[in-house]
């Protein structure tokens, strides 16, 4: 089919399916009581169960099942009436048991979908529950030269859900939209902290190309090692172009696993499917099946919070936000709540959105912070907005105060008082300064009256300097116009 496409010079389209792994933010691990926490000292959160010591038995963490089912409800999936755990057998030191507990033929949920901002619906195949593996560090400068592997099992046994999409994604940009939408939903349900840089959200992609207008799937490659949204877009773009080049020069595309090399910007073959693993799945005899009570499922479903798509619609209707602003502000549940608190406290949703997406965001990015990691309180940002509106401080001072809020969580009143940033809007006080400036600059006055409008800016600047920046610039301008016009 690809060959005939080449002969006919037809355009090809990309077909992408994503497998997303999400670590659940439970307190303890999937099958034992070890703490589930990123960044602890190596091998400090391990026990006989997650180290696979003989005789240790796993017991299912109920909250992980609840989190997966809630995710399923949020994504419109069907929760299976009967489900079980299986052993996926392989020899690799990231799992000390020589198998990973996963779900093979009876995943907890099937079906469902994620709707992209473009309106495209990406169907889901399944979501299943498993345990994460340990983390290997290959000692030495490069894997190929390393002599040994260091293993930290803190991550082994952390609850992991795998969300498998159908091949409904048509471009690297759509893959990014899909991940972003999924991340927003998971952040709202609160089942994961979805931090790609800490590995709590990870993604592999199945990619193929086919002539536009045809249905049959081409030979696919599985792309791994993509560690950020940006690398997903780059890796998929590279891989699609590589496949198109293969068809152009008449080289066959082989089914294989390809790793993304971030620094070189290429994918490289990791293993072809001929050497694919034979995992010999079988039901885990240590665990009993799941058959979740309908009433319990219904309770979990009702506990779901407002999800991003309905929140976007509500923000647009209730606060008059643009679709873009509503989209940005609902990406993270915490950010959305922060916005609502500022909007309510200040009574000015538009300004709340402008500050959060403008100066606050700039300051956060500059210092590598996020709204949730910044000590700023919604009430303080609302107070700052009120001070600007009432003319108590000017725009330049407001930016300075904003930095103090974001960085140190300070009360804007205190910052303004301490630094003398309050501005004078008192007309008579401003008039004294403006009158003196006018008296001292007769040539500018003549120039302005002769039609050189720029002279007014000079006089405003002089008056602002005279007031050491504390005069309300609007009051200065109107006094000047009163005198000169």
């Amino acid at each position: 089919m690809i060959d005939s496409a080449r002969e006919q010079g037809l355009e090809t389209e990309a077909v992408i399916g994503l497998e997303v792994h999400v670590e659940l933010s439970t307190h303890s691990k999937m099958f034992c009581g070890c703490r589930n926490q990123f960044g602890a000292p190596p091998n400090s959160q391990v026990c006989p169960v997650c180290l696979g010591l003989p005789g240790a038995l796993p017991v299912i963490n109920g909250r992980a099942v609840e989190y997966l089912c809630k995710t399923g409800f949020a994504l419109g999936c069907t929760v299976s009436p009967y489900s079980k755990f299986d052993r996926k057998n392989y020899f690799y030191p990231d799992m000390p048991k020589n198998y990973q507990i996963s779900q093979y033929d009876m995943p907890l949920t099937t079906g469902g979908s994620v709707t992209l901002v473009s309106g495209r619906k990406v169907r889901l195949n399944r979501i299943h529950l498993e345990e994460d593996t340990g983390k290997n560090t290959h000692a030495g400068a490069a894997i190929s030269r390393s002599e040994y592997t260091l293993i930290d099992y803190n991550r082994a046994g952390v609850p992991l859900m795998e969300i498998v999409s159908e091949p409904d994604i048509g471009s690297p940009q759509e893959a990014e939209q899909y991940l972003s939408e999924l991340k927003g939903i998971l952040s709202h349900i609160g089942v994961s902290d979805v931090k790609m840089h800490e590995g709590s959200l990870r993604c592999d992609a199945n990619v193929s190309i086919r002539p536009v207008g045809t249905q049959r799937l081409g030979v696919k490659a599985e792309v791994k090692n993509m560690n950020s949204f940006r690398s997903v877009v780059r890796a998929l773009s590279f891989e699609i172009e590589r496949m198109r080049e293969c068809t152009r020069v008449g080289q066959p595309i082989v089914q294989e696993t390809r790793g993304w090399d971030e620094s070189r910007g290429v994918t490289h073959s990791m293993r072809s499917k001929e050497q694919a693993h034979d995992y010999r799945y079988f039901p885990d005899p240590d665990l009993v099946p799941l058959s979740i009570d309908a009433a319990l499922l219904e309770r979990w479903r009702l506990e779901l919070p407002e999800l991003p798509d309905s929140k976007r619609a509500r923000f647009a209707a209730e606060y008059g936000l643009s679709a873009y602003d509503a989209g940005v502000l609902t990406q993270e549940a915490g950010d959305a709540a922060f916005f609502e608190a500022v909007a309510k406290a200040s009574g000015d949703a538009k300004q709340a959105a402008n500050w959060l997406m403008g100066d606050v965001r700039k300051c956060l990015q500059l210092h590598g912070l996020t709204l949730s990691s910044s000590p700023m309180k919604p009430a303080h940002l609302a107070a700052l907005i009120a001070m600007v509106k009432s003319g108590a401080i000017g725009g330049k001072a407001a930016k300075e105060v904003c930095d103090e809020l974001v960085m140190h969580g300070r009360d804007p009143q205190d910052v303004v008082g301490e630094r003398g940033l309050a501005q004078t809007s008192d007309a008579s006080a401003v008039a004294v300064i403006v009158d003196a400036v006018v008296a001292r600059n007769p040539e500018s006055v003549t120039a302005y009256r002769g039609g050189k409008l720029k002279a007014l800016d000079f006089l405003i600047g002089q008056a602002m300097r005279e007031s050491r920046g504390k005069a309300n610039v609007d009051v200065v301008r109107s006094r000047l116009q009163e005198l000169l016009d």
């Binding site: 180290l51 109920g62 002599e147 040994y148 990791m270 039901p283 665990l287």
Partner: protein, 98 residues
């Protein structure tokens, strides 16, 4: 032996077992009898029988999501064939070699 529908050398390799020729022959014969037995089971009418993955008459056994003490790093590494500081140490492994 010829009617065993599995490749004894392949299966042994997956399980990291090294079999002598004598063992391969003996185990193949045993597996062959197992397959005969399974063949008999496959002749039975099991329509209406739910596939059974577990014979214990229990379902939905959960633990609460409560953190329990873990082992100390030294306890965790006590039986490790090799260690390097707080890490387990293993020979280098490459994709495709396992």
């Amino acid at each position: 032996m010829a009617d065993v529908p599995i490749d004894i050398h392949y299966v042994a390799k997956l399980a990291r077992l090294s079999l002598t020729d004598e063992e391969s022959a003996r185990i193949s014969a045993q597996l062959s009898r197992l397959f005969d037995f399974i063949g008999e089971l496959q002749g039975l009418d099991v329509s209406g029988v739910h596939p059974t993955a577990q014979v214990i008459p229990l379902a939905n056994v959960y633990r609460d999501d409560v953190v329990k003490p873990s082992l100390s790093n030294d306890e965790a590494l006590a039986n490790a064939p090799q260690r390097d500081g707080p890490y387990f140490k293993a020979p280098r492994i490459l994709e495709g070699e396992f």
